[in-house]
Structures are given as C-alpha cells and as structure tokens.
Symmetry: C2
Subunit: 468 residues, 2 copies
C-alpha cells in the first residue's frame, strides 16, 4: 500500500454528531467495520482510511441535516457515489461521516424537447441511459466504471466519448448543492447558455466534494444518432497510431470515440476476451451521424490511417459486433489484471497537447522498460489523455518503489509538455503535490482561498485536492 | 439615460496612485475628459461613469504594476477591451483607473497541430481570424461586435456560432490573470481536458473583471470546414420558425448557425441592406462539414422547415452570397436604428429552454405592442437566446419608462420559464437585481464570498455583477 497521512481527528465532535445522526437515521446510519472500509478507498494502492459512519441519505433535506449537524461540531463529511475513484478521493483521513448517495437514485425529470434531464446524484450513467433509451436520447459521458452521476460531476469525469461530446464540465447545466453550513443552492438556470455571474456550476464540477455536496444534477442529453459505426485498425507502432490520431483531430473528423490500445493491452484482450486481433497497437473508433455521414467519416479515417501505416481496418455497423468491440475496450482493465495474475492495477492519467501524444506514450513505454515494470497503455487518444496502468506485485517493495518512481516521472513529463497530471481522475489525495507543480503555488493559493471562503472549518472532504 | 448609482470615491487614494502611475506611464496615462468618457459606458441607455484615468498597458508586468499600485491605496481598476459591452460593464461608479488593453494585441503562439493559440487580451476576434486564415484555422465565437478576446472571455460572450461551437467557456483552455494583489497566475495547462483542481478558468470566464484582470488567453481553434453553406427560409410566424428550430435541435442536426429574425427586422434589413426578402419571420442558417455532409444537412433542414410551413428555402455555397447574408445579419442592429431614425437601441438578452422559445418570443411581441414599443427580435435561436431590441425615443420619458417596464417584464418571464436574464451580455450594472431573482440570495451569496476571498478591498471593477 501507498501511505497517506492521517489528519488530526475531532473525536468528541464525531461522537456527538453520531449520537444525533443515529437518532435521525436509525439503520441507515451504519458503523460496522466492513461497511466503513467499503466506503474508504478500495481501488488502487492508496491505503484505506475508513469513515466513522456511513449514512444512506434519502433526500436533499437529509443531506442538509447531516451537514448542518456536522458543521455544528466541525466533523468531516465525505460524499460517496459508487467508490470507483482512483486517487483516494473518498478516503476519510480525519474520520467523519460518509454520506452514501446510492439511495438517491431517481431520474426526476426528462425534458426531451430541451435535450436535458434532472437526476439525483446516485443515478448511475448506465441506469440513466436505460431510462432514456425509449425516448431516443442518451447521456454520452462514459468513464469505464458504471459510476454515479454525482461522483462523475464531482471528479469532472469523461471517458471514451469526450473527444466528441466533452467532459462533465460541458454536460452539466446546473447543480443543486448543499453548502458547508447546510444551506441549499442551485448554481444556474436550465438555459443552454448563460452569462449570469460567476460560473458556480463549473466551480463545483471537479471540486471532489470539497466545496459542497451535489444533491441534484441537470444534464444535457443527446439524441441517439441515426447511425453508429465502430471500427478497429492496427498500426506498426504506438507512434504511427498516435500520428493517425493527430491527423484525425487536425482534419476535424468528428469521431465520437478514438481509443488507443498498445500491443500489451491487445495481447491481454485477445486472451481475456477470446479475440484474435493482431498483437500490435490498435485504434478503436466509433462514428456517429446520419447513415451517409458515418460511411463518409469511416472512409476518411481509412484514408488517414493508410497514410500512417494502418492495416486491417475493419468497420462495422452491426450492433452486436460494435458492442463486442467496446465491451473488449471496457474489459481492458480486467484483461490486464488477468495478464499478470495477482497483480494490483494502478492507473495513471496524464493528458498532453495532442501534438505531444506520440512522444509521451513512447517515452512512457521506454521508461517502464527501464524500470522493469509492466505498464500497458490505453488512451482516450483524441484528447491526448492516456492511462499507463502499472501491474504491480504489491509484495515486492522494490517494485512498488519503482512504480512510484514511474508515476512521479510520468506526471512530471506531462507537466513539462504543457499537459496535466490528471485528465479525468481528479487530484484526490494522490496528486496533490503535482497540482502545485502543474499550476504553481499562486494558482493553488487561489483554490485554497475559495475553499476557505466556502468551507472555513474544512469539514467538506478534508485532505483532498489542496495541500493540508 | 437610465441612472446608475455612484459609489463612494477614495479621492485621496486615487490622487496618490495617479501621481505614481503618471510617472511610470507618461503619455500612456491619459486624464482628458473625452478619453475618460470614451472608456465609460457608451453603448446603451445606462449613463456614462468615466474613470479618473485611462492607462494603455503594454504587458502583463505593467498590468501587475498598475494593480499593485491601486491595491496599496484601495483604488478601483476597470479592464477595458473595445467597450462594446451593453450592461454598464466598463463603467467606473467609484472612479479609479481604467486599463485599456488595446495595445496588448499580439498573437503570441499558434499551435496548429493542437488546434490552439495563445493571445494577448487586446487581440480582436477579427484580427485573430485574419491571422489564422492562411493556416486553415479559425476561432468560431462570433458576437456581433469586433470585440477583444479579453473582453469576450470576461463576459462569457458567444454569438451566432454557439449552437455548434459553444461559448467562450467552452473555447478558453487557460488564462493568465493578474489578481487583486498584483500577483500573476495561470489557471490551467494547455491540455484539452483536465481534472486538476478547481476550474479557475471557467471561474474567471464571465467574471467581468471583478476577480482578476485577464492578460493572456489560450484558446481552442477549429479547422476551417471543407465546405460551408448558408441558407435562408421564411416562415408564416415566429412560432412556426421557432418550432422549426426546436425540431432541428431535437433532430440533432449539427447546424453551425441558426438565427431567427422577426418580420420587423427583415423589413428593416430590406431597406438598409437593399434586400428583397419576404417580410415575414426568417431563419438564417449555416452548415459546416464535408461537401456531402453540408448538402445532406441542408436537405434535412429543408424537410424539417417544410413540415413547419417554411417557404422560399434557399441554400448557397458561394462565398459571396454567404457573406452577403451574414453581413445583413450583422447589420441588423444598424438596420433597426435606421428603421426608427434618432432612436436609441437597447438590447435585451434572455435565454430560455428551447421548448419555451416560441412562447417567449410570442409573448415578447405581444407585450411590446401592449406597451406601444418597437422591439424587433433577433435570436441565436438554436440556444434559446434572443434579443428583443427596444428602439426608444430617449427624449420621451414615458416611453423610456415603458421600455424599462418591458425589460423588467422580459427578464422575469425568462426566469419564470427556467431561463436566464442574460445569455451572453453579462450582468454588469444593469442586471444585478435579476441575478438574485434568477439564482436566489444563497447562490449570489456564494459569488459574494468568492469575490471577497479574491478581492477583499473590492477594487476590481466594483459595482458590477454583485449587489453593492
């Protein structure tokens, strides 16, 4: 495990608040070890720091009640969706109360005519899309996990569709938020655009529960395209594949997805998903549009791929083949774990200007070799965002140390290229030091001033994003 | 004129700072009445409140020097681009120093491979597009005026292309900002997406110079489309035209522009621009894409227009005809002024959910008639954003009072429909009361807390956005 520091606890306050909240919430306030640990960090090498209690909230008013009680006694509050974050974002380094949002899972309103909807934070993206399907609508943001929409907003998530549809910042119209004093605000109207004051919607999106607790989300939706086609294309090198991605972006081809898998990932997928892809770097693509437009996009891509040594280009518009392809992409994490049985997967998440993508991925592969690490690469290549996922033997302290060295090196590399240490996973606990490296102490000082203005007692998800 | 209150002046501080800054800036620090009044509000019925001096800044360091001097003596600072804002955004109700950015007009860097560029705030959108043209790139955001990019970022501007390319919030990657203490920060890296902490870029975009002075802007660019086609289509009523726009959005047709002009505007344009359009409501469109895609989009639009009673649909892909059409659109303001010689134009700027567009425009036309006002409507209809522009005889106090009644009624209407009182012009002085109506005192209280945290002495553009 990677150590993260505990923060000073307010044991008296926590005990007092727990007494109050147990009264109000009864069985919905849980303090068993197992459930508490499930609500700390569980996904990567960062050690688990469990909260003192987990409360299953049922309404905005209940969230407000919890926050009001905690505010009175300066007790930490951590909002929890599905726990799929990767940087310790839901850990409780100072203990406190975890608010589990999974029971706030109602789709409150769908305005098909306006292409928007209003949901509670515990609705998962898959549940929303199931709900929307018979109205011909979908919500495009697609991180690997079936995350909750509240969690996705809180970490400014994105995923495979971002190259076409943007990230959560582009798809949240408005939020209802419980502030650190328990008061409830709405950040914006339902208008598609607005110049009405400071953009509190975008300030809350990506704030990881440190500025407020998201209790409702108004989202932009998309019409399900008339036609969807998927494709795959093999390349002789990661560099050739990356060059193709750069050409696609520069051409302005409106691809809906363009994902890069390196040779190791393809090999792992062949084994795990019973595929027979050539074991070289691969691009997976999806095109959305009218029937004619999808055919044209696919042909244009084929031409650009040809120019960069692409081979075995195969497009399909049957739903079955398409689902198989994308299921394989989403299984990449599990395939990688199966590739090295017993290993822990630790994702990195850098994002660089697209012109530096080939350089960055190439350098990462060489560095992993140098450090004798297995770090297969998958990437949302159209955004310049890629994940070199370390497969680590956690019992080998030296290997873990080399893994930490790799992560640190990669974050520094991305920053030196004008990029970011996190394209979509957030800062959490794991990347706080890099936030300062990336943006400078002055910029992080502004973030700290905002945090202090909105949460003077630092009760909202303490120990995240900002240096302690 | 509409009165706006003066705020208490710090005459001693202003005199002291002026002494210091005249030393440093010499002739670039101007205090003549005429130049000072040119740098107050000049565009609408809000009265002019001139600053005490205008300084033509040449670099970020100079801006920092000015802010540092003003901070030491608690003197107001107002950043100024081209002065085309409409809500008193550049007025100086407490006096102070106006920093004119027009000499900071360099395009610092164009990264064609990454589709981004870095510019100084005084570069205008037309100057940038001229600079970019031979690289096959363009910057899409297009308010009517040839505004400066710093001003456009500060007011979260948009315009005719927003339905396809978004607003300034979607097209600014990063900002360099001088804070209220004179320190200089950069808000983000150049990566196309990021989850690195609070979204200070989006916080600064739309903050109207009240949280910091924008001294550099990193912008996303677009490749010039392979094909562009423009079109116009007449409708029997504003309602029929609006229904068509709703159908286009719901269909997911990726129009680049879809602008609504009511019958009065068409009549004014026929006279002003020597056109012979049927004097009924009109939609103007633009399609971007490949040759085939543009043809297909145009055909799909024709079909949707047919279903809603559209007539005289005419598409063109010749540059000359297209430019003529859009020149007419951009001349609408002048055509309206010529329609009632001697009148003052006062723009409104509400934005409603698209399903309410026909209702809102229809109600506005009826209300204008009731109040015996001329208020022709042009709209960025694809976003639900429209401007009913009052043409007022400013010597008729009763008419001016009815105009104020109309503006107030329209803002309230938009808010009651789940929309906003300002789609793209900002709050400035003119819409502060509506900001509270729209978002509530709690939300505006959060904005005030952020303002206080970043500018505790309220020296950055005081009297704007927030209630005094």
């Amino acid at each position: 495990m990677v150590q993260v520091a505990d923060l000073p606890r307010n044991d008296t306050g926590i005990a007092t608040v727990l007494g109050v909240l147990k009264q109000q919430f009864g069985d919905r306030c849980q303090t068993g070890t197992s459930i508490r640990e499930q609500h700390g960090h569980t996904t990567t090498w960062i050690r688990n720091q469990a909260p003192d209690a987990v409360i299953f909230a049922g309404s905005t008013q209940e969230v407000s009640d919890i926050v009001t009680a905690c505010a009175a006694h300066k007790v930490p509050i951590i909002a929890y969706g599905t726990g799929t974050s990767l940087e310790g974002n839901v850990n409780a380094p100072a203990g406190g109360i975890c608010i589990d949002m999974t029971q706030m899972d109602m789709v409150l309103e769908v305005n098909a005519g306006d292409l928007d909807c209003r949901v509670q934070p515990g609705v998962t993206r898959e549940a929303l899309n199931t709900h929307l399907r018979d109205q011909g609508l979908f919500f495009p943001i697609d991180p690997g996990a079936n995350a909750s929409l509240g969690g996705m907003a809180a970490t400014r998530a994105s995923g495979t569709n971002a190259v076409r549809y943007g990230t959560m910042k582009d798809n949240v119209l408005s939020l209802e938020v419980v502030l650190a004093d328990g008061s409830i605000i709405r950040t914006a109207s339902r208008a598609r655009k607005s110049s009405a004051g400071y953009d509190l919607t975008r300030l809350m999106v990506g704030s990881e529960g440190t500025l407020g607790i998201i209790t409702e989300i108004t989202l932009r939706l998309q019409g399900i395209p008339e036609a969807i086609s998927a494709a795959s294309c093999s390349f002789p090198s990661v560099s050739a594949a990356s060059q193709t991605v750069m050409a696609v972006i520069q051409y302005g081809l409106p691809v809906a997805r363009i994902e890069l898998l390196d040779a190791t990932v393809v090999k792992a997928l062949n084994a795990y998903s019973k595929l027979s892809l050539p074991e070289t770097p691969l691009l997976l693509l999806e095109f959305h549009g009218s029937e004619a437009s999808v055919v044209e996009q696919s042909e244009t891509f084929g031409m650009l791929a040809d120019e960069h040594g692409g081979s075995g280009y195969h497009a399909t518009s049957t739903t079955e083949e398409r689902n198989k392809l994308w299921q394989a992409r989403h299984d990449a994490y599990w395939a990688m774990l199966a590739y090295r049985p017993g290993a822990k997967g630790v994702a990195t998440d850098v994002c660089v200007p697209i012109s530096r993508l080939a350089d960055a991925v190439g350098a990462a592969e060489i560095k992993a070799q140098e450090l004798r690490l297995i770090a297969p690469v998958v990437g949302h290549a159209g955004d310049g965002n890629f994940h070199a996922s370390l497969l680590l033997d956690m019992d080998d302290a030296d290997e873990v140390a080399r893994g930490q060295q790799f992560v640190s090196w990669l974050n520094d590399l991305a920053i030196s290229m004008g990029g970011t240490c996190t394209g979509e996973h957030g800062i959490g606990q794991g990347k706080r030091a890099y936030l300062v490296k990336e943006l400078g102490a002055g910029t992080v000082g502004v973030m700290a001033a905002i945090k202090h203005a909105l949460d003077p007692d630092n009760i909202l998800n303490p120990g995240k994003i900002l240096p302690n």
